[in-house]
Amino acid sequence: MTFNLTAAGVFVALFGLVTWLGFVAARWRKADLNQLHEWGLGGRRFGTVVTWFLLGGDLYTAYTFIAVPALVYGAGAMGFFAVPYTILIYPILFLIFPRLWKIAHEKGHVTAADYVRDRFDSRYLALAVALTGILATMPYIALQLVGMEVVIGALGFPAGGFTGHIPLIIAFIILAAFTYTSGLRAPALIAVVKDMLIFVTIFAAIVIIPAKLGGYSAIFASVPQEKLLLAPPSGGSLGSYSAYITLALGSALALFLYPHSMTGILSASSGKVIRRNAAALSAYSFVLGLIALLGYMAIAAGVDKNPLYAAGFAQHGANFAVPALFLDSFSSWFVGVAFAAIAIGALVPAAIMSIACANLFTRNLYKEFWKPDCTDAEEARMAKIVSLVVKVGAVVFILAIPQAYAIQLQLLGGIWIIQLLPPILLGLFTRSFNAHALLLGWAAGTAIGTYMAASRGFVSSVYPLEIFGVTVPGYAALYSVLVNFLVAAALSPVINRLSRRGVPPLR
């Protein structure tokens, strides 16, 4: 691939701008950043607009922009499950999370595990929540790097060998530095720039590209018939239908359990801000739907047959579809804007994810088990250091381990994180669940979900469940969390009765 000087120039300039923003963010709404809730939650003072940008920047990541169209490009209609998914997340956000915000605010909780610790009076259940969160988030951070690597490669920076990784390493050093100094304020401020760039790029894409390709009718006409719709049920199997909707529902239930979403929610200034955003964030959903269609535009533009992009497809597979489409359709300077949007789209969630992991580690492992008497300043310093360690880990992960493993781990991460649904959700609405029962449910759900993914060789999270002779392929996360819930519900009354008889609780 040839080096694209104009595009790279625009890209570097925009990257420079957000670097500067990342550092000045430390002085935005100035407060003592040696307090964990100031560094790691922005002082819980983000209003409706900032929260909108922050959550949008947090949930719609670089990997989303690359992988969703890549899935539509490769698998057709099945990849569109991202749309019902994004429709289902907002009712969930509206109904559940203002309540969690209120409790967390009143009790000073910084993480979901803090809340569970307090609610169920069980440090081991909190430990399970914290570890699950950290483990599920690490590969997610690594995938943000994949998104960034794809666009850096597409700009024509020399690929391969150690020199090929230098741009990525520089980008992550910058990220680590401003996250360390500014905490959550940095991604909140940068998210504003990121979202504007994304919106400009997507609206240009949906206007310019169809015009070049002969309109939406020509785009859909060029898509192979069998990709346009889901395969209907046949031969005693519900086929794609059940897979489609369970993927959407399971992903929607899992989304806000991720530590980085939780951090975004807890940093809001009120429950009202969250409810308003449940409506306003739909603007992103619509953009995501349009982004998904870029996969079909890439098919119509025939980028996979263009020898210019053969090397990119060879290296990145279907993930190269969108960068190739942009290179094919836009003039150089706008390619720079579009790629900067994607790369900055990786920085924002990567920063929030590393902050969220750092909060979890510091509050629920370090303070809980090693240094219960640490001061606020020690706590904040520990979190800053952990945020660095997490990012170094993600870089090492992506450089040393094949990309496929990161994708498989992220898939497992979705199955693991949804197991937090019973402890977090049930605790908000009823007192009748027992901490030990929830812990056993969590263990059962995690084990069964992991087994289901393993039985598919870790390449798919859709498990063909047999129910009365009918095969119902569905998202393993949803099936396993059902087991989790049933175990917790069945054992809670039993264990509650035992503990009333004087069996000492596990502390």
Partner: protein
């Protein structure tokens, strides 16, 4: 106690039942897994789901506005005494 709270919660929060609408729109896959009717040559499967996003947004805005109209809240969070959370910040048993 629980009964009274639940009843007042229903008065304040009845609009939340509307949030079932976005779910109903997408839950039955066979309904929208079809090409026709197309919208400007865009197959039904695609334009229907994109439209469902807009309806979902409309529902969420409506629920928000209805709740504010029934019980206005302050910027400092809920002034609603019946949201099932007692003064110590512990959630009550509303299920």
């Amino acid at each position: 106690m629980a009964g009274k709270d639940t009843k007042r919660g229903l008065v304040r929060h009845w609009p939340r039942f509307l949030l079932i609408i976005p779910f109903l729109l997408v839950v039955w896959v066979p309904f929208y897994n079809r090409i026709h009717p197309t919208l400007g040559d865009i197959p039904f499967f695609y334009w229907y789901q994109l439209a469902a996003i807009l309806i979902g947004a409309g529902v969420a805005i409506t629920v928000y506005l209805l709740e504010e109209w029934i019980t206005p809240t302050t910027e400092q969070g809920s002034s609603d005494p019946d949201d099932g959370i007692d003064a110590s910040g512990t959630p009550g048993d509303i299920l």
